[in-house]
Symmetry: C2
Subunit: 208 residues, 2 copies
């Protein structure tokens, strides 16, 4: 095999550092144009494609969450077994609203505003907390469709499928309703299950 980049992307230390820096600074779900820019920038440090950037953030975010969850669970179990009477019910009785397993604890969560050291000239990366809704797409051999940008403002409705041609994307920095962060999963993926219904919530108590 001559060259065929048949192998998966292997980030160079520089690329990794930059990505981590961005992540540390709050970037979680870069939108399409951000990905484009990041890719372009990182290209100078080695071979890289947009999808690599996309996947990197996806995975990094997921594994971060996972790590946290694990740690929290750990410390919970630890506390439970060692300080039973002290902390046990604290967790169980509190009202933990958790629509689903998205529960990043506040002390870490999607941290506060912070400037991203790169792409200042480009603008859109200056992301803070709320991730842009980026739509998943299937590759389609070099042919793709456009990205949805929720222009939603106050409540809902008014979606729009805008097509940005240049890299000057509008970067509508508002968007999503800003989910409430949950303290602890009531439902967690771990304890999973919970009826999403509004009625007839019969026997969905356990599982696992």
């Amino acid at each position: 095999m001559p060259q065929a980049p048949t192998t998966r992307w292997c980030p160079t230390p520089e690329q990794l550092m930059i990505l981590e820096e961005m992540y540390r600074n709050g970037l979680r779900t870069p939108n399409a144009s951000q990905i484009q820019q990041i890719t372009a920038h990182l290209s100078s440090y080695g071979r890289i494609e947009g999808k690599n950037v996309f996947y990197w953030f996806q995975n990094h975010k997921a594994r971060d969450r996972q790590k946290l969850r694990r740690r929290l669970t750990m410390s919970y179990l630890y506390a439970q077994s060692h300080l039973q009477n002290l902390v046990h019910n604290q967790f169980m009785d509190q009202g933990f609203v958790s629509p689903h397993s998205n529960f990043l604890p506040p002390f870490m969560g999607y941290q506060t505003t912070s400037t991203v050291p790169f792409f200042h000239q480009a603008g859109p990366i200056q992301q803070t907390v709320i991730p842009e809704p980026a739509s998943f797409l299937i590759g389609s051999d070099r042919c793709a469709w456009e990205t949805p940008h929720k222009m939603t403002h106050a409540n809902h409705a008014n979606h729009d499928w805008m097509m940005v041609v240049g890299s000057e994307s509008a970067a509508p920095s508002c968007c999503r309703p800003l989910k409430t962060l949950d303290l602890f999963p009531t439902k967690s993926t771990a304890l999973k299950e919970e009826c999403t219904s509004s009625k007839s919530a019969s026997s969905c108590t356990t599982a696992y």
Copy 2:
């Protein structure tokens, strides 16, 4: 702005019929070029984009699985409550390997080979059982990357990011190891759902 199709795609009866037909005939995860072709074809029946096709298959597949799971759970619960001594331990003691909730029972599963009535001229759609691995991508404002085509044949390895320009894609029909289907989920997800239903559970004999 011309005419902002601000609404979500609403499949026409013809489009739906065709999609369902393909699904019935075994198509589950169309790859990029297949999506392109399908989209092109369905376009003659109304507005449609590749992503719509992609999402449709994703959702249809998932909800099919869900329906099955529900049904199985139902019959299990029924059996358990009515034929307690007969079947109870059969399930519990058997070794139900279930890595996760992907458990399509064999008696239905991904059905047998069958020809798809459309796109015969194109070839690749003639899919039978095993789905092509199609990669998820993020929108990137009109800029996308290529689709991965697993050229894997015998076992694994040898990925390739090929870019097909024409609609003559290679259609490598083998691919994934063909997961072992699980009979019953050890891990829950199964017991979930059903709770989402409500009172008048009129079946989905949807009239379109």
